[in-house]
């Protein structure tokens, strides 16, 4: 059992969620309510990671993060470290490939709020922030929750992109998914099996928590 890899995976998943929740709220609201030119293009681009093979996404990210590319060079100049094969690089990749998992459920969540309710919030004098906090987020909560769970679980399980961008550096980029692969390669099926089981249980718990919360909420609202 590679505890270090598990810890790194959980850390990566948590940070991905922390970055994607505010981004998803902002983009989800925008896509749900504001018509703008080029909206289908933006939606298509955001959905792209769903259909793109992870290795292809990983390849392009690796190229972009490399010292020869402007992004990679810029990062190196600012921080003095290389972006590819680092935790930061892994996190950036993770945020990118989780975009559809975070934004789409939130967009659906915000779309479910009737226009009249939002107009009423404005006419009641609620500031944008108060309307967001008191009205929109509670009403879009199911979408928000599935975004968090999907992003978290998906980050734990992602393999292709992680391997391309991060490689397999213990404590820096070796996630639990990579560690499982590594153990199988080393014919250590016992370790691979226990880690797989751990991952299975964590994912199952996350999904179950989300469903239970939604069901409890529905019961509460029926009172």
């Amino acid at each position: 059992m590679d505890w270090q890899a598990l810890g790194l995976s959980l850390r990566l998943a948590a940070w991905t969620v922390v970055i994607l929740v505010p981004l998803g709220i902002w983009l989800g609201r925008l896509l749900a309510w504001k018509p703008f030119a080029g909206k289908p293009v933006v939606e298509a681009l955001l959905a792209l990671p769903l259909v793109l093979p992870p290795t292809v996404l990983g390849y392009y990210l690796l190229v972009a993060m490399g010292g020869a590319a402007p992004l990679g060079r810029l990062y190196e100049e600012i921080t003095g470290h290389q972006l590819a094969f680092s935790f930061s690089g892994l996190l950036a990749a993770s945020v990118l490939f989780n975009l559809p998992f975070a934004i789409q459920p939130m967009q659906r969540g915000f779309e479910a709020i009737p226009t009249e309710v939002r107009d009423a919030a404005a006419c009641c004098g609620l500031s944008t922030w108060r309307a967001l906090w008191r009205i929109e987020l509670p009403l879009a909560w199911p979408g928000l929750l599935s975004a968090i769970v999907l992003t978290f679980a998906h980050t734990l399980g992602e393999f292709g992109v992680v391997l391309m961008v991060g490689g397999n550096i213990p404590g820096e980029t070796r996630t639990i998914a990579v560690a499982i692969y590594d153990r199988v390669q080393a014919l250590d099926t016992a370790a691979a099996g226990s880690m797989s089981l751990t991952l299975l249980l964590i994912s199952l718990a996350a999904i179950a928590a989300s469903y239970l919360s939604t069901a409890a909420r529905a019961r509460h609202r029926d009172v």
Binding site: P114, E116, D119, A120, A122, C123, C124, L126
Partner: protein, 397 residues
Amino acid sequence: MSDRGLQVTLAQTAPIPLSVTLQCGPGELLALVGPSGSGKSTILRAIAGLIRARAGVIRCNGELWFDANENVHRTPQDRRVGFVFQHYGLFPHLTALENVMEAMAATDAATRRARGRELLAKVHLGGLEDRLPRRLSGGQQQRVAVARALAREPDVLLLDEPFSAVDRSTRERLYVELAEMRKELAMPAVLVTHDLDEALLLADRMCVLSHGATLQSGIPYDVVTRPATPQVAQLVGLKNIFRAGVVSHDHERGITCIEWRGRRLDARLQPAYAPGTQVVWTIPPAYLVLHRRDRPSRGEHENPVQGLVGSFVRLGENALMSVHVDDAARPPLFLSIPMHVARRNGIAQGVAVGVSLLAEGIHLMPGEGAGPLGKRHATADREDAPARMTHRGETDA
């Protein structure tokens, strides 16, 4: 003219055409009436600041809320409006009390709670403070919406078809409650409705709209009995709209004589139309009197016409009947009579009846070319125009 109250001027051609001038004084209830798609709700949303018209000015109590030229557009948060939405727009996850409290300015929670309870009691919802909207009936939800709109102590109250989503008996109770509450309210109120009876019952003034344009404003009863144009007459649901020629004015008797399909009718004196002018006339239902079969009654000597009952349709306690006073190809007169009157007089299709058109109710409007006449009338009633004013020689004798 004081600057108290609400003054609205809006103009645009797209996305929804608007050409509107409205005034609503403090404590006054103005009804915006018109068919669906006439821009009523758009006007309300523009007043609230939810949308922005291309051109126009909105002032409330002397404060400038919107001026397209000066690029002034206050947000809804900054306008202090109380808005009751058609489907109420209640916050579904908050209780009735929390809904009302949410609309109050940020005073301390205890004060807001106390005032929220007070407002809910005022709309007869005491005891239901902790219910979620989905656990309230339609009428109760509407009351929460009204309490919430008032909670902000608004400078103007906006009501968008607030009675359309409740059943009839609830609606009648809510009318009474709103009429009662209005006595205490000092702000201008604008009510959007497509229901004329609602406007007649509740409004101090009424504004008829079509395609985003204000056609006529006035006291509701005046508008529905004395429409300015045939188009307004149609919009306010008057069924008897015919062409005629003005024959003469008798100032002593207070009578204007018109000629309709070869017969003379006495109308209320309306000297604005010179003898010889072609006009369109209408008569509100209350001024049509069915002659009694057994004995004559007062008023029968006023413009009596004879005809045959065309159609007879029962609508609840009343019946709508058409009477062909000339040949059946020409548009008939329409009368609404109580069912017991219909029964007593043996009204049925084909029965001969007499009808008096009370002179006081006959209202003249500009004829062809003078007003925007609906297409239906331009074709259906053309035959009703008197044959090229053959009596011109005798007019104004």
